[in-house]
């Protein structure tokens, strides 16, 4: 970094400036929602709120606590993430390990690999997907949200390639000491793959937390909705087809932007919080120096 030519300096300023702008662009909408959720309803309706709450009040959050549906949906989402991510990770690891072997070690590896990749490229479509879930009796249960997405192929590919990048000598040394595949996987591969595992865990958490469409289609009762499906029904604009004049009238009276903002904010919070906790696993170069060639 001691070569600070004027050109390099100019580039740095421009680069950091641009990145700063982009990151501000990402934060501002969230800040706006945050400001709305803590402002008084009258300040919101007259458009006074931009990025900082006007006339602080936590009334919207008290509303959330008073809404059993919201808390129920939140709990469903928590269960879904716990169950779904656990299942995702277990299966990802167990599939990625054998597939990371050379074909001479594991015959038919290519066939298996294609078998998985095929599902990434092609799917049966919405209706067959729905029928399968219905016929297998998963409908309206938590399992319907977890089992169909139990094997995230993309994550498998990420982990598989990471495994391949690990020095073969480490595996061989374990073998020499009499270790089997499980020892190699759990005592050598996994501890060395923490950055990759952290990444795909994050993918899995975010994916499960944010998906809403499956909940909307597969759940038969509002009480079984995960949080994002529930939020979708709170946020989107009503299509008046099924509403009558009387209902439009009643609906108009219920419009409440602050409480919607609060609900969105609370829903975004857990994922925001997960990030810093996983941050410390994003360490580079852990295998550096383990093998001398």
């Amino acid at each position: 970094m001691d070569k600070m030519t004027p050109g390099y300096r100019f580039f740095s300023i421009l680069n950091y400036g641009l990145l700063l702008l982009i990151s501000i662009g990402c934060v501002l909408p969230l800040l706006h929602i945050f400001a709305l959720s803590f402002s008084s309803a009258s300040a919101v309706t007259s458009g006074e709120v931009t990025f900082w709450p006007v006339k602080w009040t936590a009334a919207a959050y008290r509303n959330i606590i008073d809404r059993p549906e919201y808390l129920t949906a939140f709990w469903v989402s928590v269960k879904r993430v716990a169950l779904g991510v656990g299942l995702n990770m277990a299966l990802t690891v167990l599939i990625a390990y054998p597939l990371s072997k050379e074909p001479r070690q594991f015959r038919g590896r290519t066939l298996y690999a294609w078998y998985f990749v095929f599902t990434m490229l092609f799917s049966g479509g919405l209706i067959p997907w729905y029928m399968v879930i219905k016929e297998t009796g998963l409908m309206d249960s938590l399992w319907a949200l977890v089992i169909p997405s139990a094997v995230p192929i993309f994550n498998v590919l990420v982990l598989l390639n990471f495994f391949r990048g690990l020095p073969k000598e480490l595996e061989e040394s374990a073998k020499i000491d009499g270790g089997g595949h499980f020892i190699v996987l759990f005592r050598i591969f996994l501890p060395l793959s923490l950055p990759a595992l952290a990444t795909i865990t994050l993918f899995a958490v975010v994916n499960h937390w944010n998906s809403w469409f499956d909940g909307l289609i597969l759940m038969n009762r509002v009480e079984h909705y995960p949080l994002q499906s529930f939020l979708q029904t709170v946020i989107i604009k009503q299509d008046p087809t099924y509403l009558t004049a009387k209902e439009l009238e009643l609906q108009a009276l219920m419009n409440d932007r602050t409480s919607r903002a609060a609900q969105v904010f609370v829903a975004a919070l857990p994922v925001l919080l997960v990030y810093p906790f996983l941050q410390r696993f994003f360490i580079k170069g852990i295998v550096l120096g383990s093998v001398k060639e």
């Binding site: 007259s46 458009g47 209706i127 289609i217 979708q232 087809t241 099924y242 004049a245 209902e247």
Partner: protein, 571 residues
């Protein structure tokens, strides 16, 4: 080596293809088998129906033992209240149906009204449908085409009560006709008042008084008002506009109706054929006028991206005093205008003025937005008709008595008026076609004299009467209701439109034609885009003529032909 590889590849792909064929073949035979086993089942109700009807013809008889019917529900918090131990599956209203009619209602699923359409689409596509359910007008043709719903002509004729028939044909029969295909009744229309979509111009009355402006008698008056409003000072909150358009430019029909333009509806042309309102010369004149007003800075330049919330910000900051909307718009204004126990602004809804000596008509439609249909495989279609009978009885059965078990259909298990809405829980709901017009005729009168005898037959009207009284007694949360059903309110306007014969009906009220289903969405979005651009001056007014040509070419011609074919059949 490479040859060998190629060979294995070919063999694999052939094998794969074979496997796929096998799989599809298997699933097909399975389907056939399933259908085969189901078809005799499906024919039983038809076979047993005549036998049953001979045994009992009384449409009011109770089922003993009770029968179960399945349905799916859209939950709308605005019209449904559940007590702690109640849910959409178990509640006082459902219990009442079992008690009075011997019908057990079972929900296959029940989701929020906003998720209903999506969920229903999948249910239809996968053919997992309940005995009866609510569908939108857009979905009805699909169900008919796939032969999934029952012809209910006989069952309706035998079991529908007099009250039911009266309610459903209250509009002269057009709404029932829209559910009839080749003389067969295929669905129960969710009858509703065509008058409800009448438009009004909502104005800041306090500004009119303050600026000594006359109430609008003609469109010229209205243009002057808009001009005058635009010169006001909001006190540093930003520029004041004369009026705003709805984000969905298609919603402001009242605005165009003043110029005798009837966009998005079908009108009779000079030769007696139906023509599309949006492409008529009157529409061009209206757009030209709007373009001029916009150029003069009287229309909010951001109208095309502003939703209702943004419009309310303008209202809250005293930057807006004129809007075109339907009778219930005061309910949207309520939260903005009534603050800290004070009504901050005085609004009033006026009937549409006209650009010339011909009075303006407000465009309405007799078409029905949604239908109840009965599954072809349903075993007890007559039970569904009984649910309908019960609802129509509640609708017209007169004033509810506190403590009467029958009041549970409207008041829930408390059996008294608690101000909460329960009626939405009823599994089949249709509406009277003219209840709001009658409200306009009788509520203001009743408010003056205190004599409620003319509105006591309807719990809805009586509720509105009471809300007016509450407002007079100082309950400001009922402010919106006085602008609806009070003296000079929109209900009275709806009645006046009716008396003066100022409803312009959409001449086409059938199910969407094939080309409509395919092309209308595209045409509508193009139209919206072109009209918005013309108003904003980014396209010259002559873009309208180009649009008319494009519209015809992009499927409009075919749609016009189909609509006219329909029209000839239904005359």
């Amino acid at each position: 080596m490479s040859v060998g590889l190629k060979k294995t590849r070919i063999i694999t792909s052939i094998a794969l293809a074979l496997v796929l064929m096998l799989v599809t073949a298997c699933s097909k035979t399975e389907n056939n088998a399933a259908e085969g086993s189901k078809s005799p089942e499906a024919s039983t109700p038809a076979a047993s129906a005549p036998a049953e009807t001979q045994a009992e013809i009384d449409p009011n008889a109770k089922f003993d033992p009770p029968v179960t019917v399945t349905t799916v529900r859209a939950i709308n918090a605005a019209s449904m209240t559940f007590h702690e131990d109640e849910s959409i599956d178990k509640n006082a209203v459902y219990d009442s149906y079992l008690r009075d009619d011997g019908v057990i209602i079972k929900n296959d699923w029940a989701v929020d009204v906003k998720a209903y359409d999506e969920k229903l689409k999948v249910s239809i596509a996968s053919n997992t449908l309940p005995d009866f359910f609510l569908v939108s007008a857009a979905q009805l043709p699909q169900l008919l085409e796939n032969d999934m719903i029952m012809d209910i002509t006989d069952v309706y004729n035998k079991y529908a009560s007099e009250a039911t028939k009266k309610v459903l044909t209250g509009d002269g029969g057009a709404q029932m006709k829209s559910a009839t295909v080749d003389g067969k009744l295929m669905a129960i229309p969710v009858t509703n008042s065509p008058f409800n979509s009448a438009q009004f111009v909502w104005l800041r009355k306090d500004w009119l008084d303050e600026m000594n402006l006359p109430e609008p008698k003609t469109t010229q008056d209205l243009l002057k008002i808009s001009e005058a409003f635009a010169t006001r000072d909001s006190g540093g909150k930003g520029k004041v506009y004369g009026m705003t358009l709805n984000q969905n430019i298609m919603w402001n029909t009242g605005l165009y109706n003043q110029y005798h333009a009837y966009p998005w509806s079908w009108v009779k042309d000079a030769s007696g054929n139906l023509a599309y309102g949006s492409i008529q010369p009157e529409m061009k004149a209206t757009l030209k006028q709007l373009q001029d007003i916009y150029k003069a800075g009287q229309i909010d330049p951001e109208f095309a991206v502003n939703d209702d919330n943004k419009a309310m910000e303008l209202v809250a900051n005293n930057r807006l005093g004129m809007l075109f909307n339907q009778f219930w718009y005061s309910a949207i204004l309520q939260n903005t205008i009534v603050k800290d126990n004070k009504v901050m602004q005085n609004w009033k809804a006026y009937m549409l003025p006209s650009i010339d000596d011909q009075p303006a008509k407000t465009q309405v439609t007799a078409s029905v937005g949604a239908y109840y249909v009965i599954n072809k495989k349903a075993k007890n279609p007559e039970a569904v008709i009984k649910l309908l009978n019960r609802w129509c009885d509640v609708l017209t059965g007169g004033v509810l008595k506190e403590g009467d078990p029958k009041s549970e259909y409207n008041w829930g298990k408390e059996r008294k008026d608690t101000g909460k809405a329960y009626y939405g829980i009823n599994p089949i709901i249709v509406y009277l076609t003219d209840v709001n017009v009658q409200g306009g005729q009788y509520i203001p009168e009743a408010l003056k004299t205190g004599d409620t005898s003319k509105i006591e037959w309807s719990a809805d009207l009586l509720g509105r009467y009471k809300a007016n009284k509450d407002y007079e007694a100082g309950d400001l949360s009922k402010w919106y209701e006085t602008l609806i059903s009070g003296d000079g309110g929109t209900f009275q306007g709806m009645y006046e439109y009716f008396k003066q014969n100022r409803y312009q009906y959409d001449e086409f009220y059938g199910a969407p034609t094939p080309t409509m289903t395919e092309k209308m969405e595209l045409l509508n979005s193009k139209e919206k885009e072109v009209f918005t651009k013309i108003v904003m001056g980014t396209s010259p007014i002559d873009a309208f003529d180009t649009f008319v040509n494009d519209w015809m070419k992009l499927g409009g011609e075919q749609i016009t032909k189909e609509v006219n074919d329909w029209y000839k059949q239904h005359q």
